[in-house]
């Protein structure tokens, strides 16, 4: 199979400082996460050919889109990029269908209409094909923008804060939609967001960005179980993320049993069907540590593990303890005092106490489409 990975290397000191280097494979969703003003959108615009940093190399598979060292620069309209803009940027004078067919110039004229209608059907907008953008709701506009981006048959799909302009209630629905639609596309997806909820729901990989600098870049589950990212603690709070499966549901008690690489846990039932793969996040502040198995507790989950890392920032009162439970890693945030009293040390045995309501269970992003 031909290499269709996206390869990006950007470097400049101003006016917008950037220093990043990453790759993204087809089927992966890389979330670029960071506060606003950290240069996230500039990275997307560089990939699309809308911005030229001082030093850049962008390659899509075998095609070189930018290489500042050799003076190569493909203009935006020659790059097969699907771009969903933050405010959607629909063409206000064209209908939903017109917006989508505008991106179908590479298809024969006779096919464009039917292809455009099929794409709008994919995003559940069949009844709105003839509407103009101002006649559509925020969520509908977003879906037109998504259909238009897919119409290009992109070698890379770029999503710039795709949910920033919609309500929370619509947001969850659109996240599901993007996750489903993405499976029809065997291309790398880059998602720029400042909302960690998007990362948990959609991303397979994450790149943390601060003032244009890459703080960390890894698979979501590995990165989230790292104990040495104080930046992430300040931004969203630490908490291990891992894949799991809903093994059983106990509707009488409102609980589900989830299986993960470290055993089983009981979590509050959030509606995920039995047998489905889910993504679990346990905030580090919600995990209590004990050196002996406690008794007479209201909580359901007492798992035993081994301390695999202890991280303490100088001048900070709290300590991050990483615990290996089977093949999985959990993070717990405790005080320095607690570490001393319990005599916690790497390699020591420990019990992690977790309330079932503290376990966030979310649908897992689908990986490796068609495989």
């Amino acid at each position: 199979m031909a290499d269709r990975r996206l390869w990006v290397s950007l470097r400049q000191s101003g006016p917008i400082p950037i220093d990043v280097e990453f790759t993204c494979a087809p089927g992966s969703v890389l979330a670029i996460f960071g506060p606003s003003g950290s240069g996230k959108t500039t990275i997307l615009r560089t990939i699309a050919g809308l911005y030229r940093p001082a030093h850049a190399v962008v390659r899509s598979g075998t095609e070189t889109w930018v290489d500042t060292s050799s003076g190569t620069f493909a203009p935006a309209h020659r790059r097969t990029v699907g771009f969903v803009f933050q405010e959607y940027a629909l063409f206000p004078h064209l209908t939903a269908l017109g917006n989508v067919t505008a991106a179908l110039g590479h298809r024969p004229r006779s096919e464009r209409r039917s292809r455009g209608e099929a794409l709008l059907e994919l995003v559940h907008l069949s009844s709105q094909v003839g509407r103009r953008p101002h006649e559509l709701s925020g969520g509908e506009r977003q879906r037109v923008a998504l259909a238009r981006a897919l119409a290009r048959e992109p070698a890379v799909l770029l999503l710039d804060e795709p949910f920033a302009a919609v309500d929370r209630s619509v947001r969850r629905h659109l996240q599901d939609e993007i996750d489903i639609v993405r499976r029809t596309l065997d291309a790398p997806v880059i998602l720029v967001t400042h909302d960690f909820d998007d990362v948990i729901r959609l991303a397979t990989h994450v790149l943390l960005l601060e003032k244009g600098r890459m703080v960390a870049h890894d698979a979501v589950t590995s990165l989230m179980s790292r104990s040495d990212l104080p930046w992430l603690r300040d931004a969203v709070g630490l908490g291990a993320v891992f894949g799991a499966r809903i093994a059983r549901a106990d509707s009488n008690r409102g609980l589900v049993e989830i299986e993960f690489a470290g055993g089983t846990l009981l979590a509050a039932d959030a509606g995920a069907p039995v047998g489905s793969t889910v993504r679990v996040r346990i905030p580090a502040r919600e995990i209590v540590l004990a050196t002996r198995a406690p008794e007479g507790l209201s909580l359901h989950n007492v798992v035993s593990g081994t301390v695999s890392a202890i991280h303490q920032e100088p001048g900070v009162g709290h300590v991050v303890v990483q615990i290996a439970v089977g093949q999985a890693l959990l993070l717990s945030e405790v005080t320095r005092d607690a570490v001393g009293r319990l005599g916690l040390a790497v390699g020591g045995q420990v019990y992690a106490l977790i309330k079932s309501v503290s376990i966030d269970v979310d649908a897992a992003p689908t990986t490796n489409p068609r495989r």
Binding site: L50, F83, A89, L90, P92, A102, A149, R152
Partner: protein, 222 residues
């Protein structure tokens, strides 16, 4: 009623628009979108005809068109006639005097298109020319039409520049505004009144058309 003068006025108005509109779209769009050195200077130059007294503008144009100027000599060599006091000279003066009336509305029209919409068009695979014809021009269309109507109305009413550059030659450079002045000088109040009313009707009609068009533009953009 001086029908010949009305004919000259209408001919001048239409010819001015035909010459000025393509140039105005090009320059207005460039001023709205591009960033280049000397942009402020170009914007200031575009506005000059608007603030200069028409007689002053006419004076300088007359000097520029004169037989001793390079432009006047070049035109004489090519066309075999002098620029001042000819329809061609009047047309050139009218084009220059109307630049701000055409370029400024068009510039505002292109400025109103969000840059993300233009970026999205590029990401859809549309070439620069396709972006212009299929996205930008349709969106800026009400402004372009407004510019055309303004320039037409302004040309019909122009007096100072016409008198300075064109003089008062029937069928060649005597426009309706000049003819009104002419009739008043000859104490023909009735003749002047009819022609003044004609210009008034055209002016009001123009204003109505521009207002209606700009309303439509707003509605379409939602």
């Amino acid at each position: 009623m001086d029908w010949t003068a009305l004919g000259v006025s209408l001919r001048l108005g239409v010819a001015t628009i035909l010459i000025l509109l393509p140039f105005g779209v090009w320059l207005g769009r460039a001023l709205a979108i591009a960033t280049f050195r000397g942009k402020l200077l170009v914007e200031a130059l575009v506005t000059v005809p608007l603030i200069l007294p028409p007689t002053v503008l006419g004076f300088y144009l007359l000097v520029t068109f004169g037989a001793r100027s390079p432009l006047g000599q070049a035109f004489q060599a090519i066309a075999g006639q002098a620029l001042p006091f000819s329809f061609e000279g009047l047309l050139l003066a009218s084009v220059i005097a109307n630049i701000p009336f055409v370029v400024q509305p068009i510039q505002r029209g292109f400025e109103a298109i969000p840059s993300e919409v233009r970026d999205a068009a590029a990401c859809c695979g549309l070439s620069p020319w396709q972006r212009f014809t299929r996205i930008e021009a349709p969106l800026a269309w009400p402004s372009i039409l407004t510019a055309a109507i303004l320039a037409f109305a302004h040309t019909l009413g122009e007096f100072g520049v016409v008198l300075m550059v064109g003089g008062n030659i029937p069928g060649e450079t005597r426009t309706l505004s000049i003819a009104i002045y002419d009739r008043m000088q000859a104490f023909d109040d009735r003749g002047a009144g009819v022609m003044a009313a004609t210009l008034l009707v055209i002016a009001v009609g123009t204003l109505l058309a521009t207002t209606a068009l700009s309303r439509r533009g707003v509605r379409r953009r939602g």
